[in-house]
Symmetry: C2
Subunit: 287 residues, 2 copies
Amino acid sequence: MKVKRSERLIDITQYLMSRPRTLIPLTFFAARYESAKSSISEDLAIVKRTFAARGTGILQTVPGAAGGVRYIPAVTREFAETFLQNAAQRLAEKERLLPGGYVYLSDLLGQPTILNDIGRLIATQYVRKPVDVVMTVATKGIPIAQATASYLNIPFVIVRRDSKVTEGSTVSVNYVSGSSNRIEKMELSKRSLREGAKVLVVDDFMKGGGTVNGMRTLINEFDAELVGIAVFAEAIFSGKPMVSNYSSLLRVDDVNTQEQTIVANPGNYLDNTTFLDELAQPVATHS
Amino acid sequence: MKVKRSERLIDITQYLMSRPRTLIPLTFFAARYESAKSSISEDLAIVKRTFAARGTGILQTVPGAAGGVRYIPAVTREFAETFLQNAAQRLAEKERLLPGGYVYLSDLLGQPTILNDIGRLIATQYVRKPVDVVMTVATKGIPIAQATASYLNIPFVIVRRDSKVTEGSTVSVNYVSGSSNRIEKMELSKRSLREGAKVLVVDDFMKGGGTVNGMRTLINEFDAELVGIAVFAEAIFSGKPMVSNYSSLLRVDDVNTQEQTIVANPGNYLDNTTFLDELAQPVATHS
């Protein structure tokens, strides 16, 4: 039975949102709704306009016989600014201060709505850039990896500091923990990363960059390619950082255990991202 | 500027899907689109019908001055059956067999599309049941917890087997690992679970139920309430299982290391779930 436009628009929106960065042929929708391709084209033009107007993301049209449409999640600068200001404020709550000057983050990184926004923000940096897999290290980076991978619609892999019988053969590397200057070990299941894969590294917190640098070594061991680094929060680090070219959503500028204060601000993310409202001709990469 | 129906339907769909189980007042949409409440009511009736027809979920209407609408994700029986049959087939791939008869799952549990379906399936069991928080134990349960929490739109907490300075004060319990019969320890940050919270426990794999039983002990220590247990896969266990009343999406019936075979089937999930197409008058619980 032919489906009305109103119902088509609702289901197209639902369908695309559940499959980011995936090319859907027009013929798929035409068959699904028993409607003419010309009607579907009109539907998609309305979806595209509405997604752009409401800051939902990009609807990319790929012309030709092998063409179709692709929904690419991306946020506007205003959305990112508001999110990061609120997040910085929450990060600075003095109740987060732990002995030793550590900052408690587990509540924030256990909230799906916050994680989804983090994922959308990081994914916005890869609208024009191909990525095959997101990598993180257990435990606290996992939710960020999963949220990011979900909006990029690619798999994520988890590097571990301990060995597990459920991972099979692994490749392990030693790395220098930047903050403590100790030699540590991390490993990744051999079958989880293929040669040549383009890898985006994410983590919850970076200080000195030792852990991220360890993941870079691991990526080299797999003959894969590091295409980007994104962390939720970076700490001011007095020494020489072990990585450059990373994105930080937030920056912890000061932790004063005596006065019980935390100073947090948006990180460098806002300066090195092209937002939905700033993109001219977006090109997506995942099919 | 008044927004056309076609654009309203797209944006309402997008807005609701991003906020599962959250009550949205009609007045919110009326203001957002500068449209009459009667027009919004008509829009929502179309969304409700389409969501039901396409197996997207329930659009619950709450009448009265404090009322509004609420999108509750849920799947149909057919969707669940198809997903579980495919997942069982993948689980039985002989390449998954690891030394000691362990089964490699990390690739499946690192794919956002699979995780999202797992989350939707588990969330379907809680359409009528209040849940405040999802709990799991590090590491492999985390992606399942996050996906489930995302569709329930509630936080998740991570129990750890090791101590971390970034967790603050913790409560720890000892538990008997069902399969190895050893005494182990697990702990949870004190500030991450409040008294009386209704907790859904999830994990990737269960054999004997020792780990899940440990989480039950922990929930008791926090004076919280266990409202359900869901695991991705359970293994056939010859001894007396330490938990009953759990849901398993899949069941590993046999692992033969000599003949290199794994036999996997859908678990008890299909038998103890009321699906989208079987619900009479759904009642949601999260506002």
